[in-house]
């Protein structure tokens, strides 16, 4: 189940308020509405990727060149992108906001999907702060995460969860 269109629109507007210039990503079942909203948002360039490991490296180049990118893909892709996150975002102290579609997230039931079960423990192990966005009420977490990434010079993750499991 994907993030509601109204929430996605609000997330993308929040990104623009933060000065974001590029969304580097791959659509997935949770975040596709955010991806589509980004494609039609004035002032935002979407950089479509073939595999998630590319995203942090492209974003790193954009950051070094003076732009303000965010990364957008699914939690399955977070695992795929591990070496880029480790070797670039963490080792180079990049202030990078990563928005991760939270496949398997269920608010009121035990998690059964390993893509969800291992995600937050992995983020905690790597010392990556993360915030959950499920509805329009949570969208300010985007600005908070963006500010924190810049203050700490570290990646911060926004988990896009729908709770539908």
């Amino acid at each position: 189940m994907d993030i509601k269109t109204s929430t996605a629109d609000k997330i993308v507007r929040e990104l623009r308020k933060c000065g974001v210039t590029h969304v580097v990503g791959l659509p997935d079942g949770e975040s596709n509405s955010v991806y589509e909203a980004a494609m039609t948002q004035d002032g935002l360039t979407v950089v479509p990727i073939c595999r998630e490991g590319e995203a942090v490296a492209i974003a790193a180049g954009l950051l070094l060149g003076g732009k303000t990118p965010v990364v957008l893909h699914q939690n399955t892709g977070f695992f795929e992108a591990g070496d880029s996150i480790r070797g670039l975002a963490l080792d180079l102290h990049l202030p990078l906001l990563m928005m991760i579609g939270y496949r398997g997230w269920r608010r009121d039931k035990p998690l059964t999907d390993s893509a969800a079960i291992f995600l937050e423990p992995m983020l905690d192990t790597w010392g990556i702060q993360h915030y959950l966005v499920e509805s329009e009420n949570d969208v300010q977490a985007v600005s908070r995460g963006f500010k924190e990434a810049n203050e700490t010079q570290k990646p911060v993750v926004i988990l896009l969860g729908t709770g539908g499991g």
Partner: protein, 188 residues
């Protein structure tokens, strides 16, 4: 076959004010031949991703030519990058691949399907604007000026001599030069 040190010297003589991203074998050699080290991003830390960070730089700074010095083993770890680069199609990106048939930095083990894969063919199929392949130094010297003036993205395979030894220079860690690089790029 081209000596990789000589090939990189030729590129260095023609890079002018271009940003250079150098990885794997090129990371070892490039600091020995570079004419503009401030704009060199020696890339380590995520094998295969040099062309991706080069793409980001090229999109961020369309006023600067960005030259990526990749290896074929490195490219093989991130083949989707060819399609991603073709999609964004930055006119200022030049993507070299040093194809020496081996993983040189780990002692010369052969890459998969060694000698049978055309990296230039893959880039052409992905729809890079220009693709070239050189296997002798003289032709490369004669053509490089023209090649670098093309509107990109441009892909060049350099068939270099296989070697089992790591180059006799230290690897430069990206973390050790990133502040200097960022400052140089901001003022360039």
């Amino acid at each position: 076959m081209i000596d990789d040190f000589e090939a990189l010297k030729v590129i260095s003589e023609h890079r002018d004010q271009a940003v250079v991203v150098a990885t794997m074998t090129a990371n070892f050699i490039w600091p020995q031949v570079s004419t503009n080290p401030g704009l060199d991003l020696m890339f380590s830390g995520a094998m295969g991703k040099a062309s991706s960070i080069g793409l980001g730089l090229a999109l961020a700074r369309p006023d600067k030519q960005v030259i990526v010095l990749d290896g074929e083993g490195s490219l093989l770890m991130n083949l989707g990058t060819l399609v991603t680069i073709a999609e964004m199609s930055p006119r200022n990106l030049v993507h070299f691949v040093l194809d020496n048939n081996v993983y040189r930095t780990s002692g010369g083990q052969p890459v998969p399907n060694v000698g049978k894969t055309s990296y230039t063919g893959l880039a052409e199929a992905a729809s890079y604007a220009n693709v070239y392949s050189f296997d002798d130094l003289l032709s490369f010297k004669n053509d490089i000026e023209r090649v670098l003036k093309q509107a990109g993205p441009t892909f060049i395979t350099l068939k270099t001599i296989p070697a089992k030894e790591r180059p006799p220079y230290p690897l430069t860690l990206t973390s050790s030069i990133i502040s200097r690089f960022r400052a140089a790029l901001q003022s360039a």
